[in-house]
């Protein structure tokens, strides 16, 4: 995740759009930018997890039986300096939802919101996957949230990253992952359209962190299943971003980009305790 931060701070208009999919070496808690780490006491099971503070907002996420993704869009002319990019959320999430439906899950966007600006932070659940915003991806009649994303703007670009929850974690047993949920064979018709971002033609760079896949506990019964879900997520994100930005993806390495990683620790607890 520190690499996501480095990508955002180093991006230039000459960069391509960069997409990453990765897992974590061991179960780790990432908290939203403005959350207090002390509040994890509200949730049993989180106390002993290593943790990091994201640059994005929202609730805390247990990175365990899940895949993390990020999409970086470098700044271009007329890019807004504030607020979220709704189109990017919907492009990514709708693509994943549509592909999950072809596999038999009743997946759709939540279109509901637990956030109330009049409430204080403690009124919201500590964990991201217990919160709801309209673009969250939910599955089944109980609206189990299995994908949540957040964005961060800067002068250099827009970073969106998210967590695709595949299985329940022992650190957060109240959260069902996709593979904990039954399939629904009813067909699901979807209406909607994706708006296009204005601006120049963009290129895309897709970086699969293959060397990180062996760390931590395994999601499926075999690496083959995990590889399949990684490919599913990569493919779905590529489709979604392509529909929005019309870019051509190619597999690349982070070393293809010039990154100033001074001061960015890539291992250990990167973010300082506050």
């Amino acid at each position: 995740m520190a690499i996501d931060e480095a990508l955002l701070s180093n991006a230039t208009p000459a960069w391509p759009v960069v997409m990453r999919v990765y897992r974590w070496e061991r179960p780790t808690l990432s908290i939203g930018h403005f959350q207090r780490i002390e509040d994890r006491e509200r949730v049993p099971g989180l106390r002993d997890l290593p943790w990091v503070r994201r640059k994005t907002g929202g609730g805390a996420i247990v990175h365990d039986q899940e895949l993390t993704y990020s999409v970086l869009i470098p700044s271009c002319d007329n890019q807004p300096s504030k607020g979220h990019n709704e189109s990017l959320y919907r492009a990514c999430h709708n693509s994943i939802a549509a592909n999950l439906r072809t596999l038999g899950w009743n997946a759709q966007l939540s279109e509901s919101c637990t956030c109330d600006p009049r409430k204080n932070e403690n009124a919201e659940p500590f964990l991201c996957f217990l919160r709801r915003s309209p673009v969250d991806l939910v599955v089944g009649n109980d609206n189990n949230k299995i994908l949540g994303s957040a964005q961060r703007r800067s002068r250099t670009g827009l970073l969106q990253h998210g967590s695709f929850l595949l299985r329940r974690s022992q650190a957060a047993t109240e959260l069902n992952g996709l593979l904990d949920l039954p399939k629904d064979l009813d067909t699901f018709c979807e209406n909607g359209s994706l708006s296009r971002m204005p601006g120049k033609e963009m290129r895309g760079l897709q970086s699969n962190i293959g060397s990180n896949l062996g760390g931590g506990s395994r999601i499926g019964s075999s690496n083959l299943e995990l590889d399949g879900w990684i490919e599913f997520l990569v493919s779905s994100l590529k489709q979604g971003v392509f529909q929005l930005l019309q870019i051509q993806w190619q597999l690349g390495k982070l070393t293809d980009l010039i990154l100033d990683l001074n001061g960015v620790e890539l291992t250990g607890n990167r973010f300082p305790l506050q």
Partner: protein
Amino acid sequence: MSISPEHLRYCESHEWVYVDETSGIATVGISAFAVAELTDLVFMALPKVGQTVTAGGEFGEVESVKAVSPMYSPVGGTVVEIHSALVDKLESLSVDPYNEGWIMKVKMSDPSELDRLLDWDAYSKQCSH
């Protein structure tokens, strides 16, 4: 005194500044356009009193429901006052971003930096694009 948006100067990133000609203190906030772009605000991180800010540099952050966005200072100088109560009543930004919604006050180090900012007409034109 009630601040009118037509009499303010603006950054391209939608922060506004009002200067008290007597004291030379600059009051900074974000525009109605920015508030509308941000949609539902849930948190704001303010600078600290005594902090040095630079023209065009980040001085704080604001979280809306689905994004964290930076706020950029229109002028450089030293923060002399912050609107701490604003954090608990962010909805006032939707009602009156130019008076109730002020964010910080800065003792300017270089008032000529104001000349680089947009006036109301230029800012309005930018927002309409």
